[in-house]
Amino acid sequence: MASIKMRAKASDGVTTIKALISHVMETGTRKDKKTGKKIPAHFIQEVVCEHKGNKIMVANWGPAISKNPYLSFKFSGGASGDTVKLSWVDNKGEKDSKEATIK
């Protein structure tokens, strides 16, 4: 699906992950201007980041996370050349994931 852009950089033993995800993050409270009907909620509920089989971060999101969401966090124990994997699942069960190499 190619919805995830991710950067992973290691410095002094700490890896910083920055990710930008393409997703509408629809709250479910907006109305379609033309039909007057509510646009159904469609938002990422869970984001997981894994490194060497460990879940280094699990994020639970509500629809109040901005459209095309951004996320950044840091962890120790990663090194340049390692792979990190970011995955997401939304309230409709749609998902995507991406791997990146730590620089």
Partner: protein, 278 residues
């Protein structure tokens, strides 16, 4: 009187009269620059490409946070893929543009003597499509904005160099655009200049008004309000609506003329599109 006028027309001097009666584009540009230099003395010329972020520290900080990983990066990637994808006939966009379309946005819009029209980058994109048997894209957002974003991205850092040809047809378009910029319109009876020249740096409700100098450099723009990317003509339409004036169509002669004038006023500044704005 009529006889004299006819004589002058016959001698083709009338256009000269009109030109000397009005300022030249270079005069306009000089005046534009010195106005904003005086109004915002602490802003280096180069910085005007960042709009309100060049004149307000608090919003600049938020903008810099977003620039950490701006949402338009997703559009640039989409645009890159769209640009590279061949048409049904096997050709690509690159075949329609100088230098394969890489780093050329700084020359747009330009006056095409053959057609007598001013050509915008978006118009070129659709012209390329139609020349290759493809349906044209919608002008304001979506694929058109993504491709424009990619092409502007490859032109980042290039100096905006809109040429106002002294061909009278080009001058007519330039003057039409200039007139639009300074004309009051809509229920609110405001011109582009009212907000972006005379009240630039002032607030309209809680919004800070951006200076018109450097205005077009960052397009297409990802606006938080739109939750997406839009072209310059999308914004023109929005601004017209905001003063409760009926908007013109994107890529209409009115907006094309406006863009010709508007962009030329940013000549000498770097392209920094696509950009993020509120």
């Amino acid at each position: 009187m009529k006889k004299i006028l006819t004589a002058i027309l016959a001698l083709g001097l009338l256009s000269t009269f009109t030109l000397t009666a009005q300022a030249t584009p270079q005069d306009d540009l000089d005046k534009f620059r010195s106005y904003f230099k005086k109004r915002f003395p602490n802003t280096p010329f180069k910085d005007f490409i960042n709009g309100v972020y060049s004149i307000d520290a608090a919003s600049r900080e938020q903008w810099e946070e977003i620039e950490e990983f701006p949402p338009y990066e997703l559009n640039i990637e989409k645009g890159k893929d769209l640009f590279a994808k061949p048409f049904a006939n096997g050709k690509t966009y690159a075949s329609c543009f100088t230098n394969n379309g890489d780093g050329i946005a700084d020359r747009y819009p330009f006056f095409d003597a053959k057609s007598g029209k001013v050509i915008t980058l978006e118009a070129s994109i659709n012209a390329c499509r139609e020349a290759n048997g493809e349906k044209p894209l919608k002008w304001k957002k979506g694929a058109m904005a993504d491709i424009s974003a990619y092409m502007h991205y490859t032109s980042r850092g290039n100096i905006i160099s809109v040429k106002i040809s002294d061909d009278p047809r080009a001058m007519a378009i330039y003057n039409k655009g200039k007139a639009h910029f300074y004309a009051k319109r809509g229920q609110l009876n405001m011109s582009c200049a009212d907000c972006h020249v005379y009240n630039s740096g002032n607030k309209i409700r809680a919004d800070l008004l951006s200076p018109a100098l450097g205005h077009t450099s960052g397009f297409p723009v990802y606006r938080s309000k739109w939750g997406g990317l839009g072209t310059l003509h999308r914004r023109y339409g929005g601004c017209n609506k905001q003063v409760r004036s009926k908007p013109f169509k994107a890529q209409s002669p009115e907006y094309t003329a406006l863009q010709y004038f508007h962009t030329s006023m940013s000549n000498g500044l770097e392209i920094n599109g696509p950009s993020a704005r509120k």
